[in-house]
């Protein structure tokens, strides 16, 4: 009977741990770390640092904007250093892309043009290439943010999130968006 308890305990622990590894975060919460790890054979760490290849997306500030006065409609609003991309690409070179995976608008709004931009604020990579340094207007399709040569250390990229000048064609209401970052390796 005692062995059955032990087996049950191990089973419970195993399911719990690996369910967390496959977690897809709640998009609605701010300041929530969302991480999707690969299934390489190096599963010695749970915080990212022990994995060979991973991408971690940290939201440092909520990326919510208010557009309530003429200056908001006519000028760009920026949330500095809102997003941190932390990654390691130990096995091979990588490319990191961004796109809007979800965009919901009020009735009557034009949902084809998404007025959200990313602008890289800083990074600590010594092996980055093809880095997009200009503000990048996001679309529903992947666009390259940067490439990085394979290396053992962890790198960080910080991004501003910018709401472009809307003009006065945007009807009132709430516009919700989700930015999806993807790291690919050949």
């Amino acid at each position: 009977m005692r062995y059955i308890y032990v087996i049950a305990l191990i089973l419970f622990t195993g399911f719990y741990t690996f369910s967390q590894g496959a977690y897809k975060g709640d998009d609605d919460d701010d300041n929530k770390k969302e991480k999707y790890k690969d299934d390489d054979d190096d599963d010695d760490g749970k915080g990212g640092g022990g994995d060979k290849n991973y991408l971690e997306v940290d939201l440092h500030s909520s990326i919510n904007f208010t557009v309530s006065q003429p200056s908001h409609f006519e000028n760009t609003q920026t949330i500095n250093n809102a997003i941190k991309l932390k990654f390691k690409t130990k096995d091979s070179d990588c490319s990191v892309f961004a796109k809007i995976s979800s965009y919901n608008t009020p009735q009557g709004a034009n949902s084809n043009v998404i007025p959200i931009e990313l602008e890289m604020r800083s990074n600590d990579s010594k092996k980055a290439m093809s880095v997009m340094t200009q503000p990048l207007q996001l679309t529903l399709y992947d666009q390259l943010l940067f490439k990085n040569k394979k290396e053992n250390s962890t790198n960080n990229f910080f991004y501003d999130v910018r709401l472009m000048p809307l003009g006065y064609d945007y009807p009132e209401g709430q516009y919700s968006f989700t930015i999806l970052f993807t790291m690919t390796q050949p």
Binding site: I10, F15, G25, N53
Partner: protein, 160 residues
């Protein structure tokens, strides 16, 4: 062994590639903005003909509209009578001696304390609909004393 198989199965099922997402929103409020800029100074009555026919001041003022909904702009007199600003000016000159139209349009609308529609338009800014001048017609006739008068005009922008 049974336990090992179960655990490995969970790892394989959890492999989704390397990506992550963040979410946010922006809230757009209803906005209507109107800017009225005077383009003329004081209108003077210098000749008999000015009194016989009145004086039309074309492009008397400019109006700019910014709105993210369809809109209507109306105007009305702030008071029933002009305010007399000089010694001999009459205190009973009514708002109705003054009339307004959109520049380039025909037909003046006589000013009163009742609000009247000047123009409506679509959401947006910067088009001819949203940026236009108005003309003013002053025609007091001979009934009022010479002097300096003023009248406030209230422009009201509302969404349709």
């Amino acid at each position: 062994m049974i336990i090992s198989f179960v655990v490995l199965g969970q790892v394989s099922a959890g492999a989704q590639g390397k990506n992550g997402s963040v979410s946010g929103h922006f809230i757009v409020y209803s906005i209507q903005s109107i800017t009225v800029t005077s383009l003329s100074g004081v209108i003077a009555f210098n000749t008999p003909n000015d009194y016989f026919n009145g004086v039309i001041a074309n492009n008397y003022a400019n109006i700019k509209i910014k709105s993210n909904t369809n809109w209507i702009v109306s105007f009305s007199a702030q008071s029933t009578y002009f305010t007399a600003l000089s010694k001999n000016a009459s205190t009973d000159m009514p708002a109705g001696v003054m009339a307004i139209r959109i520049n380039g349009h025909s037909g003046f609308k006589t000013l009163s304390t009742q609000s009247q529609k000047l123009r409506n338009g679509p959401k947006g800014s910067g088009t001819d609909k949203h940026d236009f001048n108005i003309d003013v017609n002053f025609n007091p006739g001979f009934e009022y004393g010479g002097g300096l008068y003023s009248m406030g005009i209230v422009y009201t922008l509302t969404k349709q």
